[in-house]
Symmetry: C2
Subunit: 296 residues, 2 copies
């Protein structure tokens, strides 16, 4: 039986949010539509956060209103609080995401509250979402290391992931925010989490800061994980190491999986075209080795 | 028991051979000595080939004469023919390497003879080396694809690897010359070869053209391979896709293995220093994500 891997394309949100340039609504809409057309079944559409803090995500409501939605494709948006959730609902979001952390320091510096307090903030979002029939995805950042605290053990990740799951998140995206984790660390993390959470509820979100992302994806696949976040052209640098890579490039993931006989449902040629196009819009070189090799 | 991985640093030969600039003897000598000082137990020293064909490798004899040799470190050099072998011996090489291919077209275009004829060319080298107590390493290129023929099956690789081993090569370095292979393909290749060759005689030589190299190394480790070629700063672009990556960067390999608890004997800090230094000499950006992240 051919194994199927679900990809969550995070370029239009997690990617663009961490790029220097802010791009216009029409370009964002085109990017999201192109990614869905390439076969991505989940494409992050934006973030309902204050444009004061995250100017790159301003006008996410306009973006969500304007995209032509493809059947069978979901367009999750980030909602840090109840106000963000209401905005997301008004913009007809079918899936929202909350963003927690496995590191106390990162939680404080990034979302300005403790891990425990973040759960209290997520509860009303998740409850409202349940009532509205909206799915909630839970992000846990710093699962393999923290820019402030350094090492993070799997036993620190487990209670955060479990709480988000118990609160009602259908999927927990495990983020190696600083991209420092390696395959054996990834396996150890998944092994522990799988003792208390269904493996189908876990997703891997790996950054390529240290060149480890694809190896970590394969390590997680070995442990049974079948959902991964990725970003076209590797959009999104690493804010914790300037000039370094951020999200793993979707093209490199699709190439590796498809050529290994796993099914992603994504058309690599269309994805590469989209990568070249958005890289040109941003005036940057594609952050995918596959795209660079294919277009050389 | 801690697993030990042997690394073969190919930057000064395979790397520099595929860089645009030719660097001087003193810089090559310093590079080789720095890599040995960082803990590499095998550092390719040069190639005894015609400087007409490979100007980057001119003066390999002078380089080999000038390096201060560290105890327990070997300095293999490439010897395409008997004449090259004599030059290597005069320069006190302790290990030489012959370079074959799993692809008939690549063999013809690269070394100007058929695969079968290449064995005849290697025989006198290997016989002379046996008499001299010199070890011979065998390279097989195009093991996961050929720039001219496309797909190469493991069953095409097997007879070439086996013949080189039977002729007397102590180790067969399996080269993914175009860097197109993926983890499942790597596993399938190793599984087949291991049926007829001792796994300890197999080494992996992966290029990162499509971003797959480190994942392929981990796939090969899963199959029992314990020796890998790598190149400081990812020296050596891919001659078959301009602007694309070539050899996997040594720093990214050492980081991944050591942080996963495997032992390489290499000091990562010294390796990164060497990477930054040689990249500066060549006027290029380091080709290692670890080095970029650490120096950002």
């Amino acid at each position: 039986m051919t194994q199927t891997i679900s990809l969550v394309e995070v370029g239009p949100r997690d990617g663009l949010q961490n790029e220097k340039q802010t791009i216009d609504v029409a370009t964002k809409v085109a990017l999201i539509e192109r990614l869905a057309d390439a076969g991505m079944k989940s494409v992050e559409g934006g973030a309902f956060v204050s444009p004061k803090w995250v100017p790159q995500m301003a006008a996410s409501d306009e973006v969500m209103q304007k995209i032509k939605r493809a059947p069978g494709v979901s367009y999750p948006v980030l909602t840090p609080n109840r106000q963000g959730y209401e905005g997301a609902r008004a913009a007809k979001a079918d899936t929202v995401a909350v963003f927690g952390a496995a590191s106390e320091s990162f939680s404080q510096k990034n979302i300005n509250c403790s891990i425990e307090e973040s759960f209290e903030r997520f509860k009303p979002i998740i409850e409202a979402a349940k009532a509205d029939g909206v799915r909630v995805r839970g992000y846990v950042s710093c699962v393999l290391g923290c820019p402030y605290e350094g090492a993070i053990s799997p036993s620190q990740v487990l209670p955060v992931a479990r709480t988000l799951y118990d609160l009602g998140c259908y999927e927990i995206s495990l983020g190696d925010t600083i991209g420092a984790g390696t395959p054996k660390e990834t396996k150890a993390l998944i092994k522990l989490l799988a003792q208390e959470l269904p493996i189908s509820a876990l997703a891997g979100h790996f950054h390529d800061t240290y060149g480890q992302a694809l190896s970590n994806i394969w390590a997680a696949i070995d442990e049974g994980v079948t959902t991964f976040d990725c970003s076209v052209s590797g959009l999104g640098g690493c804010p914790y190491a300037k000039g370094a890579s951020g999200n793993v490039a979707s093209e490199d993931v699709v190439y590796s999986l498809e050529r290994s006989g796993l099914k992603t449902g994504v058309n690599l040629d269309k994805l590469i075209e989209t990568s070249l196009w958005i890289s040109e819009q941003l005036g940057r070189k594609p952050g995918s080795k596959v795209t660079l090799a294919r277009s050389a």
